[in-house]
């Protein structure tokens, strides 16, 4: 008994030794900064020799009165609400096609997946060229085929966000397709045979069998999509710089501007707290909402 106890304790020590390098790094660059962010959101921005001082909820008050902030939040929510369902739906369709027996499967898979391997910053450059008024491919098509006038899609407040969304959807759908493809390959072919014997149509088979079986994947993919909708802002740097008139500024881009352009680190910390809160609420909410469907189907 004494021996067993010491082995157990020895195992504790081994486990802690094995864990400590990873945990040290994890705490230093994830948990510690997350907590400090929360703390510094209650402090003013240090300037020169004047240290940060406790100002309570002043940063939050500034935030509520900041019209740009509300626009940025709205932009980002719209961005998430549009890009997530569209890219997930396209990903599912792609996966169903690639999983089938269509002609030219190799090309299809390559075409769908290639954008995933490209850096977002490079992708943005390619699309920027696309959107160039009068000169880019989109206007070439508009002029040449339909005789429509030139249009600056990235220069107008009512089109810029959609133009940026198209890039995100193009980049992400292929990535999500992979997860659906993986899930589809685990579905036994006998289900399809059984459905055929029952005379179920393809649509019924998809709706009643395939789609429910893919629910855990849908959950996983959409949580990922939510995180990406708030995490990836590289294309904003290249394509619009947040403009015109903040019409394409997303939350993380705004944080970057506040912190590294205007050096308002206190305010940037407050914005980061909002971002973290939003992410947690959305991810957890999604989990509960979709998780119920996963189990009770």
């Amino acid at each position: 008994m004494k021996f067993a106890r010491t082995t157990a304790q020895l195992n504790w020590i081994y486990a802690w030794l094995l864990l400590s390098p990873a945990l040290l790094m994890l705490f230093a660059f994830t948990h510690y900064p997350a907590i400090v962010t929360l703390v510094s959101s209650f402090f003013s921005t240090p300037r020169g020799k004047r240290p940060a001082k406790f100002i309570g909820l002043e940063n939050y008050q500034a935030l509520i009165n900041d019209e740009v902030f509300w626009q940025v939040i709205w932009n980002n929510l719209l961005y998430a609400m549009a890009t997530i369902p569209i890219s997930v739906a396209i990903a599912l369709v792609m996966a169903l096609w690639v999983n089938g027996k269509l002609h030219g499967l190799g090309f299809l898979r390559m075409a769908y997946f290639t954008p995933t391997v490209l850096p977002l910053i490079a992708v943005a450059n390619i699309w920027l060229f696309f959107y160039t008024p009068g000169f880019g491919l989109i206007d070439q098509i508009r002029n040449g085929l339909f005789g429509l006038p030139d249009q600056n899609l990235l220069g107008q407040t009512d089109t810029v966000l959609w133009a940026v969304m198209a890039v995100a959807i193009w980049k992400e759908a292929g990535f999500f397709m992979i997860f659906y493809l993986a899930a589809l390959q685990t579905i036994p072919p006998s289900l399809k045979e059984a459905a055929d014997i029952e005379g179920a149509s393809r649509w019924t088979f998809f709706r009643r069998i395939i789609f429910p079986l893919l629910m855990p994947t849908t959950l996983f993919v959409s949580v990922n999509a939510v995180i990406n909708a708030f995490r990836l802002v590289d294309h904003i740097f290249v394509m619009t710089g947040g403009g015109p008139d903040n019409a394409s500024t997303l939350l993380l881009f705004y944080i970057y501007e506040q912190a590294f352009k205007y050096w308002q680190t206190g305010y940037a910390a407050t914005l980061t707290v909002v971002l973290l809160a939003l992410l947690s609420i959305l991810a957890i909410g999604q989990f509960f909402f979709l998780d119920r469907k996963v189990h009770y189907r």
Binding site: M25, Y32, T37, F135, R231, D234
Partner: protein
């Protein structure tokens, strides 16, 4: 009469269905491929042909050489290679050790610590740029490749992925090795790591492509040619106003994504399979 109609109409309907699906799949694929094809077209032709699609247009590599001369892309590539290699090695070591502890040891606080690890999937270092920048300044690491890599070394995703793999390996193999006198690290090295090779490959590919493409954090933490990875280099290059032709920018764009793109096209099947494997777990 009806007997004749049914067998005839059935194969016809099936074909129609397949044709429709094939067409849809191809239209989408072409649409998806178009931006890249366009970039390739402009990059390999003189600026004159940027918007003129003439199949007889002369091919040229001039745009690439112009881009290569206009910015220190050689140095940027070296920085990126050092960066992704460093991150990969660090992640493999840290994540392997931690994953092993989570997979095969019982110790107090295990579930709490594991939750904290998984929390990183949501609260990523990518978002905590303000505080991580301050930390790097305190450590005197601003504008170093080390600073770009540090926040990513302990990856929650990597620990999770490897733990799942290690847990599928029979415990008997470990016990047998221990009886032969293998130490804990010896068991890890001789039993677990060899058996988890496919997971390492999958995770390695995901990690390399992710960090090759990463932009925001490197942009913030670097400010010199000696540290900038290609993504930031491309942005600095393309953001300079005036004088740059689109064909040259597109050439630079392809240049930065080139190695990854070529590797992907060559090992397409393995690449997709790896991503699938990383996704399943």
């Amino acid at each position: 009469m009806t007997e004749h109609v049914i067998p005839r109409s059935k194969p016809f309907r099936l074909n129609w269905d397949k044709t429709l699906n094939t067409t849809g799949a191809w239209v989408l694929a072409l649409l998806w491929f178009l931006p890249l094809a366009y970039a390739i077209w402009t990059a390999f032709h003189p600026a004159l042909y940027e918007v003129r699609f003439d199949l007889t247009a002369p091919l040229t590599l001039e745009n690439f050489s112009k881009a290569w001369e206009a910015a220190p892309f050689g140095r940027y590539f070296l920085n990126t290679v050092i960066l992704v290699t460093g991150i990969l090695v660090g992640q493999f070591i840290l994540c392997t050790l931690a994953a092993y502890a989570f997979a095969r040891f019982e110790f107090p606080g295990k579930s709490v610590l594991f939750t904290l690890v998984l929390l990183q999937l949501l609260v990523m270092p990518d978002i905590l740029i303000v505080e991580n920048y301050k930390t790097m300044r305190h450590l005197g690491l601003v504008d170093t490749i080390t600073a770009i890599a540090l926040p990513y070394l302990a990856s929650g995703f990597g620990i999770f992925l490897l733990r799942q793999t290690f847990m599928t390996i029979p415990k008997e193999l470990e016990d047998a090795a221990r009886l032969e006198g293998c130490s804990i690290l010896g068991v890890l090295w001789r039993v677990y790591i060899p058996l988890a090779k496919p997971t390492y490959l999958a995770y390695g590919l995901v990690s390399v492509s992710h960090h090759w493409n990463n932009f925001l954090w490197p942009l913030i933490i670097t400010n010199s040619v000696e540290t900038r990875p290609v993504t930031v280099g491309l942005q600095v290059f393309a953001a300079v106003d005036g004088g740059l032709e689109w064909s040259v920018i597109n050439a630079a764009t392809l240049l930065t994504s080139g190695p990854l793109l070529i590797a992907f096209l060559l090992f397409q099947r393995q690449f997709v399979q790896s991503f699938i494997r990383a996704g399943i777990k």
